[in-house]
Symmetry: C2
Subunit: 382 residues, 2 copies
């Protein structure tokens, strides 16, 4: 057979900064993150409306920061977009960004800087990656969830055909800045929701981190910022290591970080995203942990320990839309959709121990049903 | 400053196959290109309407090939899309592909196989890359231009805001198959147009290849298939080497392969794509070659030699829409648009010699105008 073989590697590098008050004019983090000769480059800001509401001074603050730091390429039109999953359900916000890219001549060496929760970062990252085959994008995640998980990773997405993340690409950010100040204005639901991703990564990768979360649970409930900052940093480092050490652009069938996620994705869709991603992940963790126990992989006492921590932190572990009556229940269809989204063989992460994940390629519907019923009993008792 | 650094590399690999009669059931090229355990995977075909017209048996041929080779995952609905640049001017064809991906459960380990000219491959590649964060795509380029240049590379695109390739990503194909049989049914314009990219790469990289094209010009005009196959293979190998050895995803400001392209992109847009890409590139080569001579970089006799070859092959070297009256002429605006599309500094490739390109960062409007006038005189004499 007659062929020519092509082979090359592409190297990716980015920093995740930790700071407080990123738009204080004397704070050099953003300027440093943007890199050299930034004076000549355009900067297009996209701000989550939820953030703009909680921080009414942010738009003026961006202008002041740019003046004080000679960021002369600031595009004066700062784009405020709806927050939450709805921003991913249409092309509207993507199109506003593309129009600004066109109008202001934002080129591939310029920056799109997105400030917001995971949904806004997903949407803005998608717009950045498809414009001019990829404009540099810088992320300022403003929620626990995005600071410790989605915002520091390499993915972006939109929903399409009512399917979460049906559209998207792999496209590493130019840099990430986690500003602890944004966490202070989160409501309790969003403060709590992001903790689920830390529990997830602890359960599959780092036993000691799980025990630490158990010990500090009361401090997290009391919203002690230092404890949350430590949780975010430890979780972020585990995620970054996992991405770099694994299959960053997920060319294989496995997605080891997605423990508890197959049912979470489906539950979000079934509830029209009224359940937050982190809340859904907490329920997904509870379900797959109990499944791991009923399937004989972990001790029942360990499963109870995980579920008790979720309950102590204030998470619901069941939801009416999750109810599994039989193999045709809506949640079960989520298994097939998860497989389709990842491609290849069905691959689901379960637990072998606290701190150690294991991949399986089949899920038993009866065990799944029993696992969910056990959670319902716990909910009734709680 | 407090930060965590992320670093990883991603490795890409793909083969470009050369064959004749790819859908002959006994031809194993496609089956080999699809790789292992292909029986279980979905195959979604997208066919250029121009190809379907010229090869009315192609849809039946795909079905027969799939049956004979146990490609059981063939999606029965073969998508025929308009050929030529128009297919890139709206989301319509992209959306038809996305709908099929959704309806037939085409996952990330399945394949979208696109058959057609460069525009159809660009569009189908874009659809493949944004669905599920990237479905494997296999390209069967059917024109000289796509077989020796765009079809074997790592880019895809759509036009937006009337700007060529405003949307797109870098996304290497899973494999490419060049089938010489498709070239036989090309009209003379499309047969000729693709030769421009070979002249381009020869001029900037390979003097001997340029001299060879001069020697075989009459055979190319006589449409001798063996000569065209050799031209395509040599050109493809030069392009592949350049991509692998350089900056595959164009993170810098330079695009050394784009000799003659800044004005070509603009001319295509100004003529509403009535001028084919290769035809526009031939005019762009003529312009930048004459500019190189008037700027004292190459001998005038070498410039004449290049232009005589273009004329001998039947290329026009001027077009009314290219006329440069002053620094505000439409073509000159193309310089700025080219810079915006690439990002960073203006970087234009000129010639230092036949076979050797050189990058410059400024273009003199007076020299440009004189270069174009010289071409007009040549056109008047030809």
């Amino acid at each position: 057979m007659d062929f020519v073989e092509q082979h090359f590697t592409v190297s990716y590098q980015y920093k995740t900064f930790f700071t407080v008050n990123v738009f204080d004019p004397s704070n050099k983090t953003l300027k440093t993150a943007l890199g050299e000769s930034i004076q000549e480059k355009k900067l297009l800001f996209v701000v989550d409306n939820g953030v703009a509401q909680a921080h009414p001074q942010i738009v003026a603050g961006i202008h002041d920061y740019a003046s004080a730091n000679q960021l002369n390429g600031l595009v004066p039109d700062i784009i405020v977009v709806p927050g939450g999953e709805q921003v991913k359900n249409s092309m509207e916000s993507v199109d506003r960004i593309l129009q600004a890219v066109n109008r202001y001549g934002v080129d591939r060496h310029s920056f799109i800087v997105a400030i917001g929760g995971g949904a806004v970062l997903d949407m803005a990252g998608y717009a950045s990656t498809i414009a001019h085959r990829g404009i540099r994008h810088l992320r300022l995640p403003t929620t626990v969830l995005s600071q410790n998980d989605s915002g520091i990773g390499v993915k972006n997405s939109l929903n399409y055909f009512d399917k979460k993340n049906f559209l998207g690409t792999f496209s590493p950010p130019f840099a990430v800045i986690n500003d602890a100040r944004f966490l202070e204005t989160l409501d309790d639901r969003n403060w709590r929701a992001g903790i689920a991703e830390a529990i997830k990564v602890a359960l599959i990768k780092d036993r000691d981190f799980f025990y630490w979360i158990e010990r500090v649970a009361s401090s997290l409930n009391a919203r002690e910022p230092e404890v949350m900052n430590e949780l975010i940093r430890r979780c972020a480092v585990l995620h970054l290591k996992h991405i770099a050490g694994g299959d960053p652009f997920e060319m294989g069938s496995s997605r080891p970080l997605d423990f508890g996620h197959w049912s979470a994705h489906k539950l979000e869709q079934l509830t029209n995203f009224e359940v937050l991603h982190g809340e859904a992940v907490a329920m997904g963790i509870a379900l797959d942990t109990m499944y791991s126990a009923l399937d004989g992989r972990i001790d029942r006492s360990d499963a109870d320990r995980v579920i008790n921590l979720l309950i102590k932190l204030g998470f619901a572990i069941t939801h009416p839309s999750m109810a599994i009556e039989n193999a045709d229940s809506p949640l079960v269809a989520g298994l097939q959709e998860f497989r389709e989204h990842l491609g290849g063989r069905l691959t689901i992460m379960l637990l072998d121990a606290i701190g150690r994940g294991v991949e399986v390629h089949a899920i038993d519907a009866t065990i799944l049903q029993n696992a969910y019923r056990t959670l319902e009993q716990k909910t009734a008792l709680a």
